[in-house]
Amino acid sequence: MRIFRSAKIIIVFIIGIFLVQSLHACMPSSQAAGKTRLTIATVNNGDMIIMQGLSSQFEEANPDIELRWVVLEENVLRQRTTTDVASQGGQFDVLTIGSYETPIWARRDWLRPLNLPASYDVNDLLKPVREGLSSDGQLYAVPFYAESSMLYYRKDLFANAGITVPEQPTYSQVKEWASKIHNPQNGVYGICLRGKPGWGENMAFLTTLVNTFGGQWFDMNWNPTLNTPAWEAAIGYYVDLMQNYGPPGASSNGFNENLALFSTGKCGMWVDATVAAGLISNPKESNVYDKVGFARAPIENYPNGSNWLWAWALAIPKTSKSPEAAERFIAWATSKEYIQLVANQNGWVAVPPGTRTSTYENPNYQKAAPFASIVLRSIQSADITQPAAQPTPYKGVQYVDIPEFQAIGASVGQTIAAALTGNTSVEQALQQSQTSTERFMRHTGYIR
């Protein structure tokens, strides 16, 4: 019988730990009795960090709400939020999601439809952005900032080389310019482009490139079209350009890495998100803030889909326990007042761009942001319903609005990164991508 006592001791210990722990877990909530606690999942980029800093003002204005931040890197954030929302975990009250997820999740009935007060002025939100965040005409998320893509170049280097850049350049011109300003001895590389594999990294840029070269992801029957001449031309152009005039390590450069390279003066040109314009024009964060030129994203054969459309938006999952408080918060964080607040605190150049017509009409913003009109035109010209030269069964400029695209984009992105490093040829990479995508579409039941 004694022998059982040790087992009993163990059990008592375990129960004891449970009790102590759950007591401990209950304590903070009883302390904050009467306060609604909002758990906010967000991505760790500059604008969100500014928001986190300013959120104490929201808490002061709403003493009944306590904010709890979960700040994660983009990929981790996406995994965390998707796992939680899809399995009804109910861990978050406010989610930071993109324009790719919003309509998909809304169709799954995972998000709360938003009915914002008139003072919020929903119609002030830029139309393409607003439509991208809606499903069946109902808004499911509000944009924190939105972006298209554009070309950045170094005015000083271009002046030295005697190049003038038109507002709408072409990719053939880009290649010629890159060859002229490429000067690795002085630490300046002709062009920086995304190479880090991922559907939201290299494939975002490459999809716009393929679009304007006349290609697309799928035909109307969901057959992948990755081994077509348009893809070969586009990817061939990209690999050739980067191998000759790109920085070393291009295959691990995503948006952040390129931003760091450009703002330390190592890139002559850069085609990427318009949101970078404010960052590289900010003297606090950039060494080249006064030397940046702006132009529309280059085109090749077809203008359709040459510049993307993306928004980081705030949404409320159906599983949230305090949806009213959450709605108050997301309305605050995307309001005109919030933009004014950031302007007062950090200057107009730092306000979250791409969301509101009123921002672009503001003369202070126009003065602080010389790029404002190009950004606005880029966003307004991006049409997610007609991303390619030929009709597509999907929506989205730089993505395909099906849940499976994350996986497809990731795997194709990896294969193209291998082509970029020279481990495989472009033809091989595309053939491999075509085969694996076709297999995948069959497995998931799109192709019967």
Binding site: Q79, A86, R108, K196, S252, Q414, A418, S436, H443, G445
Partner: protein
């Protein structure tokens, strides 16, 4: 842990057959651990088996249906899966060789007495305490980065140009990082094993005119063999599921160059949210793990007990 097993010089003290009236009473002692682990294994495993026969994408739950062995054939016919197994093996074997080889040499080195030996030893084992995510971040951003990394700056300073580690030598880069993390572990265990070696015996052999190499080959190595077996075993367990280092640095690429089995399943589970596929992959991994376990039991574990 282990040098204790590694060095058993008192086999004669062990009674030949341990069996007394208390046999029956051991069950309550082992039971809690075994039951806990069984639950940990079986509950998720049962769910996993259920999922593995379904088309079940977390993002598209409406399309959930029974597809029999569809997930298994999809994975087994995926060339990426077989590549990932190959990479897992390369990764495990090469890191084992490096850590045990260098670990033995370093253990001999740190067995010598020299000024500041204690502090030097503390510094040398420090990498083991660093969390894998952090060590991967350090190596990726501060040492191996092709533009701002220290290694690139040094080689470029010497006029040699820079190596783009994660693009051109991705697997080697991962092997270096993992080896750096686990070398201290091998060093610690092998060092204790060496310290248990009878120094007078070595001195005596040396007096007899044994060359250092012969000394190492015929006195030290046999003595270390069981410690090496223990290191190999524990490290294998951890190396089979290397994940954070790959996730942070290469993301499995370029192409599939650094996708090991754990990462392959991660791609299924958290990128595709293909619960069915990930479950099938997980089950295949379970089977492989048990094959490895049997193999380890045969080869290594025989060394462990007297």
């Amino acid at each position: 842990m282990s040098s204790s097993l590694a060095v058993d010089r008192h086999p004669e003290t062990r009674p030949p057959e341990q069996r007394t009236r208390r046999q029956v009473s051991t069950l309550p002692l082992v039971a809690p651990s075994v039951i806990a682990l069984l639950l940990w294994m079986i509950v998720p495993l049962a769910m996993t088996i259920g999922f593995s026969f379904q088309r079940y994408n977390l993002l598209n739950p409406d399309a959930r249906e029974f597809i029999g062995l569809g997930n298994f054939t999809f994975i087994l016919s995926d060339p990426g899966f077989w590549i990932s197994i190959g990479i897992t093996i390369i990764l495990v074997v090469s890191v084992l060789v490096i850590t045990i080889g260098l670990g033995t040499l370093l253990a001999i080195l740190f067995d010598q007495e020299f000024p500041g030996q204690g502090i030097a030893r503390v510094l040398a084992i420090s990498p083991f305490f660093v969390m894998p995510t952090v060590s991967a971040l350090i190596w990726k951003n501060m040492l191996m980065h092709p533009v701002n990394g220290l290694i690139a700056q040094i080689t470029r300073g010497l006029g040699l140009g820079a190596i783009d580690w994660f693009a051109n030598l991705p697997l080697l880069a991962i092997i270096i990082i993992v080896s750096w993390e686990w070398l201290p572990f091998a060093l610690l265990i092998l060092l204790t094993a060496i310290q248990s070696l009878d120094h007078e015996q070595i001195e005596a052999a040396r007096m007899d005119g044994a060359k250092p190499i012969a000394l190492f080959r015929f006195v030290m190595l046999p003595h270390l063999s069981r410690a090496i077996a223990v290191v190999a075993m524990i490290e294998t367990i951890f190396f089979l599921t290397i994940f954070a280092e790959i996730f942070v640095t290469t993301g499995g690429g370029p192409g599939l160059a650094t996708t090991n089995l754990a990462y392959y399943i991660f791609l299924k589970a958290l990128l595709e949210f293909d619960v069915g596929g990930a479950s099938a992959g997980g089950l295949i991994a379970v089977i492989l793990a048990n094959i490895v376990a049997i193999f380890l039991m045969r080869s290594v574990a025989r060394n462990l007990d007297t």
